[in-house]
Symmetry: C2
Subunit: 302 residues, 2 copies
């Protein structure tokens, strides 16, 4: 029996993920609030539904990928939502980054309909989504996750079970907190180096050969040197994740000084109008402070 998939949410990430499912031969019905993005996927063989409920009806597996808690509530609840169309036995996977509380509420609602909900956010931005190289961190039944592994591995390279429902969301927020801090830390280091007259390319070479090496430096260092802030993962989405992480940490009673300082930096970047640029545009906050580019080019190479 072919696995049939209902896919809801065709933003930067969702579009690439749905396209990979189609390329791997899954029977996919898509829904997107802006219908034009859904129509584009017809060329790859997708069916297009007019409501979330229609995208879900009769499907074995449902995947949702939208931008925040409010959008998830819009997609799941209400007369034409996911829960209106879902049948008993369906495995519902939400790969959005949402709050752990909402993940647990959705899991309860799914269970009430005999369906299984997994909070399965991903790490990896647009390039990883396009290459099918995402990593899924799964909260909820490990057995259910194993049963739909072919679907997840059509979009990603790894599935890590994290614990009960909500654990995927917690792990994602804790992880993205590290990503957000590491990226801002890179830019803060560049700000000191540039102000001290250090050549940007030499500094990146040092960072990448030393203890300061990171995925953030690997992905964002070259973007900074070429002043290319085209979006891989939007600054405003990082800010959203840090907000969720801040709320979560506060509820858990964890003091998070680095998270709070980073959140302020992305907040400043967003307030300055850089929200739709790549999160590496947090560099612009430092550039405005120091009045010079972070990617300093030394003239004298002696």
């Amino acid at each position: 029996m072919t696995t049939t998939v209902g896919f809801i949410g065709l933003g930067t990430m969702g579009y690439a993920m749905a396209a990979n499912l189609l390329r791997k031969g899954f029977d996919v019905t898509v829904y997107n609030r802006t219908a034009a993005k859904a129509e584009e996927l017809r060329a790859l063989g997708a069916s297009v539904a007019g409501t979330p409920a229609d995208a879900v009806r009769g499907r074995n597996v449902v995947v949702t990928m939208v931008s925040n808690d409010d959008s998830i509530r819009d997609v799941y609840d209400g007369e034409q939502g996911v829960f209106a169309g879902v049948a008993p036995g369906t495995v519902i996977v939400d790969s959005s980054t949402i709050s752990p509380e909402l993940a647990r509420r959705l899991a309860d609602d799914a269970a009430g309909r005999g369906a299984i909900f997994l909070d399965a956010p991903v790490t990896g931005s647009k390039p990883a989504a396009e290459a099918g190289m995402l990593v899924f961190m799964v909260g909820g039944s490990a057995d259910a996750a194993a049963s739909i592994e072919p679907v997840l591995l059509a979009m990603g390279r790894r599935v890590i079970p994290m614990g009960p429902n909500g654990s995927g969301a917690v792990a994602k927020l804790a992880h993205n907190t590290i990503v957000g801090i590491n990226t801002a830390a890179l830019m803060e280091g560049f700000a000191i180096a540039a102000s001290g007259g250090i050549d940007g390319a030499s500094f990146l070479e040092l960072v990448q050969s030393g203890g300061g090496a990171s995925k953030a430096a690997e992905l964002k260092g070259p973007k900074l040197l070429s002043e290319d802030f085209s979006v891989q993962f939007a600054l405003e989405l990082m800010l959203k994740d840090l907000r969720l992480s801040s709320v979560l940490s506060d509820k858990l009673g964890v003091p998070t000084p680095l998270l709070e300082a980073s959140k302020s930096l992305y907040q400043a970047g967003n307030a300055a109008g850089h929200g739709s640029l790549d999160l590496s545009a947090v560099a612009k906050v430092y550039e405005q402070w120091i009045g010079r580019p972070l990617a300093h080019r030394r003239q004298d190479n002696k």
Copy 2:
């Protein structure tokens, strides 16, 4: 003609560096304030001097590796200091992490004696020093650095010219700022994850497969999971570097919110008595706050 090296400062790093010079066949005279460490190197063929001036006299190259600005002043200045023994033409390399101002002052004093001073701090802690895998970032004459490359590459794997005197020190502080922040960020992420019930080993697997990957996570993640805070790079030395970086940033007029927050975290770790442990013991600051180990072990693996 054999290159003769005077080596001053046999702490964790310096001892390993001098041993590598000896193993590679250099003629090395060592000086250390605590003479016992110097005596240990006789077995590898070192000559032992009773003062810095004696370690330097008649040598082509001098390397100093001590812990801070005050120690460097003790070693260089005064009647039995480096400058009392140095001859014209000698290349003096300081691989300590010191302030850029002091580096520039030492370069001026060396020039006054016809010698050449390079500020050449390193990245890499004890394991890299022992394996001869350090990276040198060099401030000062690139020609002089090239002329002693065999000496540097006996202790390290890479030499990156950074600009005029002081640039090595600036680059080192900017880089160690990133190391310090990334290490604390890792622990803050673990604090959120552990408080949310996420298994530590699963969380580290996620971090290392995702955008949160870093050299800090690679080096310190496994130490955290095994609660092994034996020293690679001491917390009190990271705190010292962050203090220097904070002073430098303030002079350069660079706002550094993440550096300041990190400095407070290492300060808290030091105040709690963890200064001589590895810098990853900054984890203990979060552990005290949340009242549980950061390396949470989930019992239920479902």
